[in-house]
Subunit: 273 residues, 2 copies
């Protein structure tokens, strides 16, 4: 397996960077994550929009322009020869002499095999809520301090992942957006979240008799919901069975399945594009 | 210059770690920073207390016990032969196969030359306030996302550093605690801050006619203060001249200088210990 560092390919075991990098010294970096199906990166322009915006917001310069970055990714895909994969693009603060001042960023691209076709009905997903507001939420920074620290808490609560809320206002999961379904609405948070690409694609769908609503909502609304699901590049629309130990809805997940199928159609379209 | 990685010494140019480390992947790590004077680490037990506590809070195991860590630091000091220095001990989440699950931490020790004897009256220090509450504030994590991102903002405001407040309640600087002096009180924040070792030493001092008070205070109290100063391992008690463009006090800095001198006495005592 090869890893790209500043557009040079290294074997994974040789893909090292100096401990003076600001990611190690100060947790300073951004990233993005997209998938390839049959060697084709999906929705790449959407991911590039977010990646270059994150870089701009954090005052990090991307040495490669979009075309060059696209080429760097394709070069890595060609070398690794993995059809279905996750592509992680990390941009760090760079090698800083004083461990504080921002310098020339380092660009790291990592490809990992991914089992894209997941049966969303066979796996049960349980979330546990936690009061935490991500900082600089619209930027995809590498800050997962709470998510990693709370892995123990998640396990102790018999859950698979966290659901963040800000003093009762539901936000998102560490690596996914979050939706609930009521009688005629599909609701997701509007503020202080990462604007997921899959979330955006879902909001663009047309679901008969249902309206998509972006607004604040509470944990109590979550517990009362007919369905709940998370959205992410790897999970698409993935149903949630339990939150804080409470079963959500009647377990039929009809709207979630419908949304997931329509999402798969969008992905298939992009794949052929 | 040598750097210690997992208790092995490497030349700085060879001190690299894999990009799979959780510090690079997820900003996950803690650190501590102490100084040596004439080859002697100062207040090392206090720093160790905090370091091992940070590790525990973040569920990171330190492979070396206190005695072994002390020896590792002394070994690095002996090899580099720098009398007055800063010692940074970083503990990361380790090389994670999936880029998310915590594994065996990596311990990195970096020594940098430090000009210890600073004339605190010759340099003017200006701060600019910013509304930000550090997450997991009592733990010395590597999260400096806001501090680094705001370097541009600091410059644009003609300042040297940030002063964080949480919706008006003054907290701390990114790398220092913060104090104000009134007629008979020396005040510093009590909640949601990093408990600095220098801060603790200052609070243990006896200053005639002055009481040390730990409580919430506002930016308005800061603007009205007689004196203001920051405290850190490298700066000791260092006077602040301007905050948000406003001059603080009459510029005499009498109490700050007194506190700094008493602090230097404590340091001298520890050095001889």
């Amino acid at each position: 397996m090869y890893i790209s560092i500043n557009n040079e390919l290294f074997l994974a075991e040789d893909a090292n960077i100096s401990v003076s990098d600001l990611s190690i010294q100060r947790g300073y970096g951004i990233f993005d994550f997209l998938k390839t199906i049959n060697h084709k990166p999906i929705f790449i322009e959407d991911y590039f929009n977010r990646f270059y915006n994150s870089a701009k917001e954090m005052h990090l310069e991307v040495e490669l322009n979009r075309k060059q970055l696209h080429e760097a990714i394709l070069k890595l895909i060609a070398r690794n020869n993995i059809a279905d994969s996750g592509i992680k693009i990390i941009l760090t603060g760079g090698f800083s002499a004083d461990g504080y001042t921002m310098v020339k960023p380092n660009l790291i691209i990592i490809q990992t095999p991914l089992n894209i076709i997941e049966n969303t009905t066979n796996t049960r997903l349980a979330l546990v809520s936690y009061n935490h507001q991500r900082q600089i939420p619209h930027v995809k920074t590498i800050d997962y301090l709470q998510a990693i620290r709370l892995q123990k808490f998640v396990k102790e609560n018999g859950a698979d992942d966290l659901l963040y809320h800000n003093n009762g206002k539901v936000r998102e999961c560490p690596r996914a957006n979050f939706f609930i379904v009521t009688d005629h609405e599909v609701i997701t948070a509007k503020n202080e979240i990462l604007n997921g690409i899959t979330r955006k694609k879902i909001l663009s769908l047309d679901i008969p008799d249902y309206t998509f609503v972006e607004r604040d909502f509470t944990l109590n609304e979550v517990y009362q919901a007919k369905e709940a699901f998370i959205s992410s590049s790897t999970k698409n629309a993935f149903p949630v069975d339990k939150i804080d130990g409470k079963l959500i809805g009647n377990g039929k997940k009809t709207i979630t399945k419908l949304i997931n199928n329509k999402l798969l159609e969008l992905i298939a379209l992009d794949q052929k594009d």
